[in-house]
């Protein structure tokens, strides 16, 4: 096997384009993924037009004014605003691509909000214009704007509720309000009730006013109870639900680390399968298989050599890639020996699958194409969250993920990189089992080469 390995390395050395691709591909992928994961999300450029005249962005609620124009700055937290001065300019910016979208705040929005909060009638509407050319960018801009508008809407609602609750408290307990620059003291329902009860006790026993004032006191008490109950209810509307998260398992993988792991395993799979399938098919294409199999090398030794060559090269490239990614994403270097074990075993399992393909395809080009075409669905199926589908489809996806090495390789590498549950033992055992099964299949497939 040693001399075959030497020979294959000599052949690879004479194929500088292929070697450059094998070396450059994981490094470039590592850098791209690293930058993508470590960079903050971008802000879409959005043309922003407010038609509300300066100084008129206020609504009046009870005793207070709320400046709704001040909430526009909250919108700018998720977008890069391009201030425009007319609807035509906003639409032109979107059409030209200078802006991904436009947000137009109409002049009557303060009145609409005012009407809504005071009489329950009104439809405050913000207009969003989206560019329809690129569906991905359109969705990105739309989600950014809508998420931020929902936050602004919630902030305005909270402010309105705060004012309403404060006014109710003053009706209940009394206080001072400002009106036309003058301060006025409000008595409040509670004080009124107390005063009335005091007045009743001062009246003659048979005074007809006792009954009338008693009914007023009863109404006041009922109002106190009702409003006392209404205040906390109104206050709770602004934040009706609080979510408390509890993680049952121990350590979990950060999303960035998981994404990095996927990219490492995908690269490992692609490089291993292409190399194993291609190098075995090359023996057929060069007509050397029959000569080797004539007693010089056993078919099993030849297959093992291809698996070791492809798996070893790809695992080394994957280690370089993981090292590169660790500059951007947190990977646990203290577990490096487990990185090596997980990637090496994954390389062997993918290599065994690769030699099955090489044995079946027989020609380098066909083998490479088949390996590439098989890699993509294997990865995609393993990445579909099976809890998102049901019934038969779930069983099919689970089975496909089980019989190919991508899922166990991902689990093993995930544990090796970040020490997360489940443990590394089962995925490694699974990979070893798949390597044996694919090795046996390759042994049968390689008969076709002769």
């Amino acid at each position: 096997m040693r001399w075959l390995l030497v020979k294959d390395f000599q052949i690879l050395r004479r194929s500088p384009l292929l070697v450059a691709l094998l070396v450059a591909y994981p490094i470039a992928l590592a850098l791209m993924i690293g930058f993508a994961l470590s960079s903050p999300p971008g802000k879409p450029k959005v043309a922003f037009l407010t038609e509300v005249p300066r100084g008129q962005g206020r609504i009046h609620l009870g005793s207070q004014d709320i400046n709704i124009s001040s909430y526009a700055k909250d919108l700018f937290a998720s977008i890069q605003p391009i201030v425009v001065h007319s609807r035509g300019e906003a639409i032109a910016d979107v059409r030209s691509g200078r802006a991904l979208a436009a947000v137009i705040v109409p002049a009557d929005i303060p009145q609409q909000i005012q009407s809504l909060v005071t009489s329950g009638v009104g439809t405050p509407t913000v207009q969003v214009i989206l560019n329809t050319n690129d569906p991905v960018e359109r969705q990105f801009a739309s989600q950014a704007i809508q998420a931020r508008l929902a936050q602004v809407e919630q902030a305005v609602s909270k402010q309105v509720l705060r004012v309403a609750v404060a006014d109710l408290q003053q009706v209940l307990n009394g206080g001072t309000i400002q009106f036309l620059g003058h301060g006025f003291r409000l008595l409040g329902l509670r004080s009124s009730s107390a005063l009335l009860q005091q007045a009743i006790t001062q009246l003659p026993a048979r005074s007809p006013l006792r009954s009338a004032l008693g009914r007023v006191v009863g109404f006041a008490d009922l109002a106190i109870q009702g409003l006392g109950f209404a205040s906390p209810v109104l206050g709770s509307i602004g934040t009706p639900l609080t979510v408390q998260q509890t993680q049952l398992a121990g350590k979990t993988t950060p999303a960035a680390t998981y994404a990095a792991t996927i990219s490492v395993i995908f690269s490992l799979m692609l490089v291993t399968m292409l190399l194993a399938a291609g190098m075995l098919a090359l023996e057929r294409e060069e007509h050397t298989f029959a000569r080797l199999a004539r007693g010089l090398v056993s078919p099993s030794a030849l297959l093992a050599e291809k698996v070791v060559l492809a798996g070893g090269c790809a695992a080394a490239a994957a280690l370089v890639m993981a090292g590169g990614i660790s500059i951007f994403v947190s990977l646990e270097w203290s577990r490096f020996p487990l990185w090596v074990v997980a990637l090496a075993l994954a390389g062997i399992a993918f290599g065994a699958l690769g030699v099955v393909i090489g044995g079946l395809a027989r020609e380098v080009r066909a083998a490479s194409l088949l390996a590439f075409m098989l890699s993509l669905p294997i990865a995609f199926i393993a990445l579909v969250p099976t809890s998102a589908v049901s019934g038969t489809l779930k069983s099919v996806l689970d089975t496909v993920a089980f019989v190919f090495p991508f899922k166990p390789a991902l689990d093993a590498a995930n544990n090796a990189f970040s020490g997360t549950a489940p443990g590394i033992g089962w995925p490694l055992l699974h990979l070893a089992g798949l390597a044996v099964v694919f090795g046996l299949l390759a042994r049968a497939a390689v008969r076709r080469l002769a």
């Binding site: 030497v6 020979k7 052949i11 007509h287 050397t288 029959a290 004539r294 010089l296």
Partner: protein, 240 residues
């Protein structure tokens, strides 16, 4: 040479060798012997079983029946298309196969083959850059690395131009002169007549004739113009 053949032990012998692929019989009870220094051509129409016979003699395929016995020496195998690595140089190919053949001194064996094939000046060139004739010489040299007592060549001159053929046959003739038994299959019956000591005529898996080219010409009636005509008439007379 055939006159002395009976007195020498056979380098390679087939006894009732049969090969079936499913219902089809590719070889039917083929028996013959080959002797040291002898050049034997296996000829016959397409599908006669020439490549199957050589593959069985080389150990690449196993017979369905019968047996193949070899003398004390090894058997070298040269497939029809060069079975060498086009990205490796001539020297690297020879050294690799010498190591795989477990030759005691691989470097000496490489030197010897470079000398024999007269490819010393191309030793460092990638095989893929050589002409078809030179590639075939490397292909033959790889078959000779184990210093075989018998060398089997499957249509060695196919796809070569006349000049390259001439050089190849000179090279193969030299092997016979050094005592190596050489058996080759060919479509070109004139090559068989010119270079072979004996011919084996196969048709539909049956061995129809074993003897010298002159004996084949005598075996057909009348006076054929040349060996090719005699060969075709022989096949006709035997219902092929």
């Amino acid at each position: 040479m055939p006159a002395t053949a009976a007195t020498r032990p056979a380098t390679l012998a087939a006894r009732s060798v049969t090969k079936r692929f499913g219902d089809r019989t590719a070889l039917s009870a083929v028996s013959f012997e080959m002797y040291s220094g002898e050049l034997v051509a296996v000829i016959g129409p397409n599908g006669a079983g020439k490549t199957t016979l050589l593959s069985i003699l080389a150990g690449i395929q196993t017979p369905s029946g019968g047996e193949v016995s070899t003398g004390a020496g090894k058997v070298g195998w040269v497939p029809q298309q060069p079975a060498i690595y086009s990205k490796l140089s001539v020297t690297e190919n020879l050294r690799l196969f010498a190591r795989l053949e477990k030759v005691r001194d691989p470097d000496a064996a490489v030197e010897k083959m470079l000398e024999l094939t007269e490819l010393r000046d191309r030793a460092g060139d990638e095989v893929g850059s050589l002409s078809g004739g030179n590639q075939q010489r490397v292909n033959v040299a790889v078959g000779l690395l184990c210093e075989p007592a018998a060398l089997l060549l499957d249509e060695p001159s196919a796809s070569l131009d006349p000049r390259q053929r001439e050089r190849l046959w000179k090279f193969i003739g030299g092997l016979g002169g050094r005592g190596t038994t050489v058996a080759y299959s060919t479509h070109d019956v004139l090559e068989a007549e010119r270079y072979a000591d004996r011919v084996l005529v196969l048709a539909d898996g049956e061995l129809l004739f074993v003897g010298t080219p002159a004996e084949l010409e005598r075996a057909v009636g009348g006076s054929p113009r040349d060996f090719e005509v005699a060969f075709v008439r022989f096949l006709d007379e035997h219902g092929h």
